[in-house]
Each structure stands twice: as structure tokens, then as C-alpha cells.
Subunit: 423 residues, 2 copies
Amino acid sequence: MASTTGTVPSMSDLIQAGANDLKAETKADPQLQDLDASKLRITQSTSLREVPEPNSEGVWGVKQCSDHMIKVIWTADHGWHAPEIVPYGPLTMMPTASCLHYATSCFEGMKVYRGFDGKLRLFRPDRNCGRLVTSSSRLALPAFDPVELEKLLKAFLGLDGPRWLPKSQPGNFLYIRPTIIGNGEELGVQVPAEVMLFVIAVPWPDLSTGQKPGAPPKAPGLKLLASKDDIRAWPGGFGYTKVSANYGPAFLSHMEGRKRGYDQILWLFGKDFQVTEAGASNFFVIWKNKEGKTELITAPLTDKIILDGVTRRSVLELAKERLSAGSKDLQAGIEPLDVVERTFSMLEVEEAWKEGRLVEAFVAGTAYFITPVSAVNFKDTEIEIPMSNGDSGKYTAMVKNWLYDIMYGKVQHPWGVIIEEKE
Amino acid sequence: MASTTGTVPSMSDLIQAGANDLKAETKADPQLQDLDASKLRITQSTSLREVPEPNSEGVWGVKQCSDHMIKVIWTADHGWHAPEIVPYGPLTMMPTASCLHYATSCFEGMKVYRGFDGKLRLFRPDRNCGRLVTSSSRLALPAFDPVELEKLLKAFLGLDGPRWLPKSQPGNFLYIRPTIIGNGEELGVQVPAEVMLFVIAVPWPDLSTGQKPGAPPKAPGLKLLASKDDIRAWPGGFGYTKVSANYGPAFLSHMEGRKRGYDQILWLFGKDFQVTEAGASNFFVIWKNKEGKTELITAPLTDKIILDGVTRRSVLELAKERLSAGSKDLQAGIEPLDVVERTFSMLEVEEAWKEGRLVEAFVAGTAYFITPVSAVNFKDTEIEIPMSNGDSGKYTAMVKNWLYDIMYGKVQHPWGVIIEEKE
């Protein structure tokens, strides 16, 4: 299981990149302290917070965090201080704080799942922890050993999990947000001398199927608006990392899309309208190529303009393992497909649509999980995308179910990492 | 004076853009309140802060802010609340605040000058206030009438000016930082429902000539490292605005440059190595073109990849007015020059250097004011730039002096806006 092949880099490469950053930094100044989960101090909350009901308005508000949070300070003269778990509450920072002016911040998006076997799981947390090191390093913020962050996450979720994801409600999740902010008070345009790593957990709506309470019923599938003018990321930039600077500047296009009745922006790049990402998710198309072979296609990581999504990577790995020709896992009656990571353009998607070769499309990410795409507006042409199951394409549904089963413990899989809980 | 011509857009265009944004927004929801300086409430500080000595370590720390700050809240349901001037102090925000995750923040850099005539002045504050509206709108954050912000700045600096820029110390300045942050608590990737505009003032070192106390003496002129791989901004992005997302991602290159002994990065773009900006300043070259004519050249605004600098614009306007052939202001013995805004490349700069046609170079911006450039490293070739006055080129020195005289009231000029002080 979880095997990787040529086009998908091996599972350890991102982690290794983080570890190399760490080694370089540690070597540069051996006096600086590494992040060390064994130094964790826990201050338990004495006034517990209200847990919103699943899919309630409180959940859709996306701000009712759990009882505690992780906080770790890094200073240029000391390195990483002792990690703390403290009651959730406001942060205090000076108006000169680096992150308020210079976007010296980056984050991760993860979920913790209450399984149908009663267990609490993270999904491939090594990937997220490693990527946070990559993002932090891209901003010249401190690196750390991702394994230590994973240990802290387990301690935090072991504490808040039992109350916020009760065993009586399997199939629910909390969204986890590890965040690094430049907290130093010098207003000069410079690398901050103080940084804070914090982690919060918040009930989050199921955007892949969830219906907002009171909202008019919505047809299944996302409608995407292909961006004509705004470019999300570019070679030599930072689109491959989860730095905050990739998000705010995208809001204007996103708002424009919403006004026009679309759910997300499909970000294009270059004069040939290369397809990159959708909203804040990776984008996949399944089509028959000109030779009649079925392909699952998505943009490659090589240009460093798209995020190396954990869900993206998992989709590619599962599809290779279970949907390729000759796979022993291939279900009866399912046509095998080739998994392709290459630059492809909206012109190709449009051509496939005109020629009746489009099979399905979906986005993949932590927030939107696996959500089918029903239409893409490209240069005012509405490209309709088939959904053979009615509310989804059939490959999309299969991939989603496989991931769901791993996340919620319906099958045991190395990607589902069990958290020991404090009862 | 302050005349503008074809290539430099008229003084009112940026302001007009802001006003148009405002009108569009107001029209969209006439219930929302505009920013209104007449509603200002002032809470005077009862415990005044220590004012650091000019050029002291306290100044170089760039965090000892003045006694007060401006704070204005905007909420999606109300619009702009009543502005406040309150004692300077920490901000409190929830860990889910938009600006900590999504770079929903933008700012301005301005200075307030204590003139040799005893008066306090801002330099073209209409430009900065208008540009902040442009930056805020680029992030889908609220617009406002820039004239109202200018009124608030005058009230704030009229209050803190007398103590922080005493009349006994003419020739000093404070750096002013108007900042807009997305303060809304919803963690979803969305336009924040609450925003804060704040303005702080801080003593700031004179980076154009200042020598850090205790640091080894530094040769005059900045040494720039032309970035080979990192690209600061791109067409379809946000490089023309002062959004926070333009800064943090540049720190890594900046740090690399510092390690190699350079003061700033010279940001290039495209396969032909187009020259864009230097560090966080605009970049100017004076050369003899191939026909032997002297030119002041800088990158154009048309691609929207460089900042529309207030100092940049002022340099261009003054040079046209006072250095052009036939100008009545042209000093005796000074060869006239042509002012050119066009895309130009490092290959052209290198060629001019090899052919002995480079005259001088400088950066222009609020933080660095006018600072001569003594060298540019381009692909490991050290391009040395003449400094005919020893510590500066002669044109650079003239432009700097003209601006200095306006800022510090040695001449009366419409760009120098006098602030009425509370004595």
C-alpha cells in the first residue's frame, strides 16, 4: 500500500527537504534550540467552550475553536522555546508585528477524524508537518524537525479530541490549523527576530457534500470560473508553498466569481491557458485522450506553481495502485486509466469537451476533500462536465470512498495515524 | 511646479481610482458608512513613552512607536466605524484572524518631517492615501475616501509631532505606517467580515546616509545583487500594490544577498532580465544611450509589476521640470537629460557599463529616500557604477537635495503639506 512510482516523488522527499533545511540551520548556529516536543508543558482549561452541533450554524461560522491550542515561541537568540498547550484564547501582538505588515506567515490545513471504529486519526500528518517546514523556510522563517510537530499535534488532539469529536458521533472531523507567524516587533523590512508557531482546531463544514443550514438547495458539483486576467502563481514565486501570500490576493477574483454564480476560480497560467489549481484545491480531469485511452490528468509539481497537496498525492497514488490496467485491485466493469502529471491547457479541456471525450473532473484538498466539478466557464463558454453517478463521476466517487474509508478507520491503512486519547 | 506630462499619469489619477472604487462600493450598499474623519474621538495617553535620541540604537531598533495611534474598525454590516486616536499599545486578535493566515493586509510608508522653518510636513500625502485604497481594493478589503485618511493623519501627527519631532531638532523625521488588516475571525478562505485600519509613527534611521551606531564604517552607495531565480512580481499579480504579500516572500533572497555582502536585491523579470525594482525601492539608471544622449531611465508602470512609488513619481516630475533640455531651471554646466519610462534589461545595463556609458544609478523610495547605487552583481559580474561626487552621482545628489528642500521646508512647494500642531 501507499506505494509510489516515478512521476510521484517518494514519500520521504518533502520530509527530507525539511530535515535538510533543519540541518543547515542547526549547523549554522549549534547554540539554537530545536523544536522539542518532550519539553511540552500543558495548562488545562478550567472553563470549557461550547461544542457546536455537527453542520450547525456554529460550524459554518468557522471560528468556534476547541478548548486548547498549541503555542511555541522561536527567538533569534535562543531558537525554539519549550512548547505549550494552553487554553484557547486571543493573541496579543504589537502593531509593528512582522506578520501584520509583511505576510511573514504560513500554515497547514489538516483534519482529525472520529472513526467508525471509535478511534481518532490524522491523515498522513508527516506530509503536512514536512510541508510546513518547506513553507516556513521559503519565508526565511525557522525550520524544525517535522516529527516534533507531529508529536505535539498528537498531544493536543489527544486532549481535545474526546470532547470535540465524541465517540458517539463517528464520521465527524475537526479542521486543524498549524500556523507560523512572524511576531517580531521590528518594523524594518527584515526577517523577524521572533516567531510563533500555534495550532488551533475548529469544527468545519463538510464542503464536499455539506448543505449550509437555511441556504437554498444547491445542485451537486462545483462550478468553476477560469480566471482570464489574474494569475495566482508564477515560476520563481511561491505558489508551491502554503504561505499566506498565496491567499489574500486571490480573494478579489474569488469574490468576482461568486458574484457571477461560480463556486471557485480555476487558476490558469501562461498564454496557452495552462490549468493549475482550483480555488485552494488541486484540480483533476478524467478524459479519454485522442487515442481513446482513459487518463486521470493533473498539473505537475515541476514548475513550482501549484501546491503539493497531500490529498492530490494520495489520489495519484491510489489511482495508480487501484485503477491502472492490470491492477489486482481494479473492480470488475471499471475501465482502467493512466495517471498523468503534465502541463495541460484549457484549450485541451475545451477540445475534449467538444469531442465528447470529457469523463469527469474534481477538486482535491483538505478543506474540500474530493468534490466533483460540474462545469467550467472558460472565456464565457460553459463547459459542462459529465457526472455519471448523478451527483458525481464514478471514478471521483471511488477515490473519495477509498480515502474516506482510510480516514474514518473503515480500513486500516498506514496513512491513517491513530491518536491516543486522554479519557 | 509639480506639473505632469504624458508618460507620468496626472496627479489625480490614483486618487480618482480610489474614489471610483469607493463609489462602486458605496453604490453596492448605501447602508454602509464611509470613513468619516469628523467622527474622530481622541483618548490622550496619560503615560508618555520614551523618545529615542536621533540615530540612537533605539531608532535603529525600529519599534519605539510614538504616544498614540489611529484605529478605525470596518465591519461588513456597518461599514466604517468612528475613527479613534488612542494611546499606542498592543493589538488583541483571535488566532483565527484573517490577516494571520491569508495575508489580508496592506500598508503605506510615509514620513513626517520637522522643517528648518519649524513646521511639520507630510510629503504628498494624497498619493499615499490614494494608493492605500488601491492596495486595499486589490485584496477585496474596503475602500474609503483618501481625503478622510489624510485628515486623520493630520490630527494624529498634530498631536504626537511636537514631542516626537521637537522644533529644536529640525531635519528629523518619523516614519508613518498606515496599515489595513483583515481582522475577521472566520477561518474559512473568504473576505474578512471585519477589518482594522491603524496608523502608527516610529523613529526610523536615515537609511540613505545613516551609519548604524557601533557598526563598521560603510562605503557610500548600495551594492545590489540581481536576482537570478526569484521573481518578485508578474503581470496579472499584485506587484504594483503595497500589499503585505509582496514582502515576506522576498526575505529569503534578501537574506541570501546580505550573506553575500549585498545591501539589496535587484529584482529582474523575464528571460531578457528586465530590471524592475531594488529591495523595496524603485530603481533608476542614468546613462548615455547609444546615440550619446543622457537619459534617466526607470521601469514603466504599464506591466503592473512595480510599485507606483511616490518618490519615483516625484523624481520623474522634478527631472522633467529641472533637468530637461531647455528647462529654465537647468543649472549651468549640467548636461540636460531625457526622462524615459520603458522596459529595460540588465543586458542593456551591462552593455552600457562595458561601453563606458553608465553615468550613475540610485534607488528611490520612502524608507531609503534617494540612495546612490555603487555596484550591481549580475550573473557574478560586478558592474561598478560611477559616483562622480565621490559619495553619490551628481544628478542623484541634485534630485535628493531638491526633494530634501521640499520635505524640510527650505522651499515652499505644494508637495510639502503643513500640519497644524497642538502645542
